[in-house]
């Protein structure tokens, strides 16, 4: 189907690798005609998810691996993030209240806010499979160049 694609991408568990994953994701979404707002939302959620894997699931061990699967259709995009580290269930995680600005801990909150669906299950080899889904926003979105 035009505008549909699947692809996979792997990265080492280092925060310096996250930008490459974002570029990969954005290229596929733009090729499928998604606008800036949708691309930004998934880039942000992916960044937060990968940071959690690097820092928490793998505890900062840079030798571990993270696998991404992308499923882009004309109506929605899902990216699945698989790790083999410490299990994590975002549904069971309750972020701290937003009453007082703080110096961290916004990641899961932001992921939930900008995604239409966030789901997780146990990965086959241990660890977690996290699924982030964004439905295409209606209407025409502005296209910005990446800086």
């Amino acid at each position: 189907m035009p505008g549909s694609a699947t692809d996979s991408f792997s990265l080492a568990s280092r925060v310096e690798e996250i930008d490459g994953a974002r570029l990969w994701l954005a290229a596929h979404m733009r090729a499928a005609g998604y606008g800036d707002d949708d691309v930004w939302a998934l880039e942000l959620a992916l960044t937060e998810a990968l940071a959690n894997v690097v820092h928490h699931a793998y505890g900062g061990d840079p030798t571990q691996r993270i696998d991404l699967e992308l499923d882009v259709s004309p109506s929605r995009t899902t990216v699945t993030i698989t790790d083999s580290g410490a299990p994590f269930d975002p549904a069971a995680y309750e972020p701290a209240p937003l009453d007082t600005p703080r110096s961290g801990g916004y990641g899961v909150h932001l992921m939930r806010e900008v995604m239409d669906e966030v789901g997780a299950s146990a990965a086959p080899e241990g660890g977690t499979q996290l699924r982030l889904t964004k439905y295409r926003s209606p209407g025409i979105q502005p296209r910005r160049s990446r800086s």
């Binding site: 996250i18 960044t47 940071a51 820092h55 600005p101 110096s103 801990g105 909150h109």
Partner: protein
């Protein structure tokens, strides 16, 4: 993240470009710790920031408090729509001093 700095009207204008994300967090923290000298007036020009994540927001909150502790001042200017949205979603826009343009931010620092 790319950084350029200039003096304007008695303030340090720090122009940030690229992603203020977990990968840039340490560099951003060190940068702000350096420019926020006692009594300093600092404006962060965010116009060329492509993305900010929870790490970036957290460091800006820390910088705001550091400025208070050091008798300095820090304002943010010209955040693109998605950057401003992250401030709103985290409600940090209630603490951080955010202005639509560099000129308005500089005026606030001069007041």
């Amino acid at each position: 993240m790319n950084v350029s700095t200039e003096e304007r009207g008695g303030a340090k204008v720090v122009r940030l470009e690229g992603a203020l994300d977990v990968a840039a967090a340490l560099e951003l923290r060190d940068l702000l710790g350096t420019v926020l000298e006692p009594g300093a007036k600092v404006l962060l020009d965010l116009a060329a920031v492509s993305l900010i994540d929870s790490s970036g927001v957290g460091i800006l909150v820390t910088a705001h408090r550091l400025a208070d502790a050091r008798g300095a001042a820090i304002v943010l200017a010209a955040p693109p729509g998605p950057v401003g949205r992250v401030f709103e979603l985290t409600r940090t826009n209630r603490l951080l001093r955010i202005f639509p343009s560099v000129e308005e931010g500089l005026a606030a620092l001069a007041a």
